[in-house]
Amino acid sequence: MFYREAGQFKTSYKADQAVFPIFQDKVFVAIWLLIGFVVIPMLANEYVFRAIFIPVIIMALAAIGLNLLVGYCGQVSLGSGAFMAVGAYAAYNFMIRIPDLNPLICFLLGGLSATVVGVIFGIPSLRIKGFYLAVATLALQFFTDWTFSRIDWFTNYTPSGSIAVQPVAVWGFVFDSPIRKYLLCLTVLVIFTIIAKNLVRGRIGRAWMATRDMDVAAEIIGIRPIFAKLSAFAVSSFFIGVAGALWAFVHLGSWEPLAFDINLSFSILFMVIIGGLGSIVGGMLGAAFITLLPLFLNQLPIWLGINMSTAMVSHLEYMIFGALIIFFLAVEPLGLARIWQITKEKLRLWPFPH
């Protein structure tokens, strides 16, 4: 009832190719944007911004980036943490070495540096596939870990290898309060989501998907694999690189190479898998799930008034978190995005199912 496209006729190609062809979807997105930009800033407190929204938004950006590569182009990568590290350290170096450069431009340059690294490490994908490619990208992870903790130039010779940065300031406007940081991250996420959505709807995205579904067939119908795969690596690592710069500058403020270790790569991959491969909204849902569920489980006993030691709480957190991941994958292997899609289909018929 609520979600019915009856009566909505598409009379032009333009209408048929719209991002959201159905009126309800447009309303939905508008409501979400309204909530994101107006309602949340009015209601949320500092903890919610700093510990929940900002990390989720930045991780959503990274997950969307990885989803372009894994979900749309079918190239498994375990190097997301490395791309984030490249984005963060590159942005930092641009910022300190070129004075008065706009931080937003630094972030983009950080993303571009990640792109270069991504393309170089994407070259093996032309020859190796599947798990073997995952192992090759794992090498990148260890390579960047080593680079940023051993080559002091990248950390500007700070004695302990830990970098501290000041709040981002653009044209005298300082993003120091949680609400400003939140709005900055949200704006970046919205812009990049629009870019991603339009990429996957267009020629490039179709080339990626063709390559994912069957690379030999894709080659025969005229898609150059070198272009499809490398462009997927490039775009994906650009997204993840920008997310890394935001993670470092906006969320952490001070970081060490360990902040971008292999665990981060794994959790971004989990976000993509749990959220839904090949879905933009899946990246966001997965990021929210993986980031928030542990925090929720960790604080649940306090809310319920159950008195137990912090050690027991964190053991339980791991157990339940693991169990829930298995549960979700067993129930819906296609991820949270698929659950969302099923909900929409159910809403079409509600309250009169056949």
Partner: protein
């Protein structure tokens, strides 16, 4: 449909597991059941709820899980039990009860920041002071604390240059920084070789945790190496430090005269076992104070005898330990094993909590006997002046040192003793050894000036 049952079973099992585990915890903590029933009434006035408007809130960042848990647990027990005994024995700080909440960080920086955000506004006046218990987290929180106006006590860790209160008004690395510790160790090596000049041509290897914590001493050691012409080789160990084979094979090959061990958690015991494996003499290994406790040497058993570490405080019991045993453990309110009370890291946590409590007491003398804000407590820390008499009165004789802080010196003490593992306990093996401030002070100055310049801070010149 077919998963409905599974879903229900899972949802049902969650609270069941929680309740079940909660009970387990309770039982294992109290040694004799009749006491446990009594504890419910005894806990009143000792464990104060965070929402109590008349209590001073102290956040506790701890790690009781993960590879650092063997070391994180005694620290957290010592810290929280001192707070509890202050409530039980003294009825709080000048009558102001202490409430606290623990947050599990797992020694991870990102989680520490989340805990910091979670706890900083709790209690009637917000967090009094944070003790991040991790150098990586200290670096991150150092950027946030001035904004939130909450001081940090980083006892024996954190940024070495933060002793300069003019640049770091909110950081207090009381009782020693890593530079001080490294300088004490080098001075000791000079002493046993008959003078620092005799270190010329010696080889010293630094086996360090590859994190800001492990990297902190490097600038000081490099400076000392250039001053005395000894050869410094730096051997990083990746977190969490259970894989050190290649490091110690290298040590066997190079045969350095001394090994400095800058480790934490399972890394320490692994290092000592590996040293045994390559037959590197244990009495030539010197640890940082975070590598000189019972969990570090017990797994290696007899092989660790002779190993020494610089010490903030060693094991043993003072009057306050007896109070803890009688007020808390006898009432079933202890958080660990009875035998753990008085171990090295337990005492480190205790000493840390004592500094927090005394800082609040000092701040109360100016701002009144009520819950205080972080900014007020900061004044209390900076003007902290603990005398031998205070320590006697606190029942901490021999387990706390006189300290007098000022704006220009947030460290207060630049001397330490070494202690040696004799197979059963740690015992002091040297007298007090002072770090050379003529070496340390210029380094602190230049490092903090660099920080101030990069951060664009106006440094407030210290009056004192």
């Amino acid at each position: 449909m077919k998963y409905d049952l599974l879903l229900r079973a899972l949802l049902l099992s969650v609270p069941l597991v929680m309740i079940g585990c909660g009970q387990d915890e309770g039982e294992s903590n109290s040694n004799n059941p009749p006491e446990a029933t009594k504890s419910a009434s005894n806990a009143e006035g000792i464990i104060v709820d965070v929402s109590d408007d008349n209590a001073q809130f102290i956040p506790v960042l701890s790690y009781r899980t993960g590879p650092y848990a063997p070391n994180g647990m005694p620290v957290a027990n010592g810290f929280t039990e001192y707070l509890k005994v202050i409530n039980a024995r003294d009825g709080g700080i000048n009558g102001v009860k202490i409430s606290f909440e623990e947050c599990e960080t797992g020694y991870a920086t990102a989680r520490s920041i989340e805990c910091y955000e979670r706890l900083k506004n709790k209690g009637p006046t917000g967090a009094a002071v944070f003790n991040p218990m991790s150098t990586g987290a200290t670096f991150a929180i150092t950027e946030k604390a001035p904004v939130d106006k909450i001081p940090l006590i980083t006892m024996g860790y954190g940024r070495s240059e933060s002793r300069n209160g003019g640049v770091f008004p909110w950081n207090f690395p009381i009782y020693g920084t890593y530079w001080t510790a490294a300088d004490v160790l080098i001075t000791h090596l000079g002493n046993i070789n008959g003078g620092l000049d005799n270190l010329k041509g010696k080889k010293i290897a630094l086996v360090y945790h590859d994190s800001p914590f492990g990297k902190e001493p490097i600038p000081l050691l490099e400076k000392r190496a250039s001053m005395h012409d000894f050869e410094l080789s730096k051997l990083p160990v990746t977190h969490p430090g259970v894989e050190q084979k290649s490091t110690w094979i290298k040590i066997r090959k190079e045969q350095p005269d001394y090994v400095l061990l800058w480790g934490w958690g399972v890394m320490n015991s692994t290092a000592i076992k590996e040293a045994t494996g390559v037959r590197y003499p244990r009495d030539q290994i010197y640890g940082i104070w975070w590598a000189g406790a019972e969990p570090d040497v017990r797994p290696a058993a007899a092989d660790a005898v002779g190993y020494q570490a610089v010490s903030m405080i060693s094991s043993g019991q003072a009057q306050v330990h007896k109070d803890i045993l009688s007020y808390l453990y006898d009432a079933g309110l202890g958080s660990g094993e009875r035998e753990g009370v008085g171990e090295v890291l337990y005492n480190v946590g205790l000493l840390n909590a004592a500094l927090v409590v005394e800082s609040i007491r000092k701040a109360q003398s100016k701002y009144g006997e009520k819950p205080l804000t972080g900014e007020q407590v900061r004044w209390g820390i900076e003007n902290l002046n603990i005398t031998e008499q205070n320590i006697q009165d606190l029942g901490l004789a021999g387990y706390m040192y006189p300290v007098n802080l000022s704006c220009s010196d947030h460290e207060g003490k630049r001397a330490a003793r070494l202690h040696r593992w004799n197979g059963e306990s740690w015992e002091y093996s040297t007298d007090w050894i002072s770090g050379d401030d003529a070496v340390l002070q210029p380094m602190v100055k230049s490092a903090s000036d660099t920080y101030a310049k990069e951060a664009g801070l106006d440094t407030t010149a210290c009056d004192s």
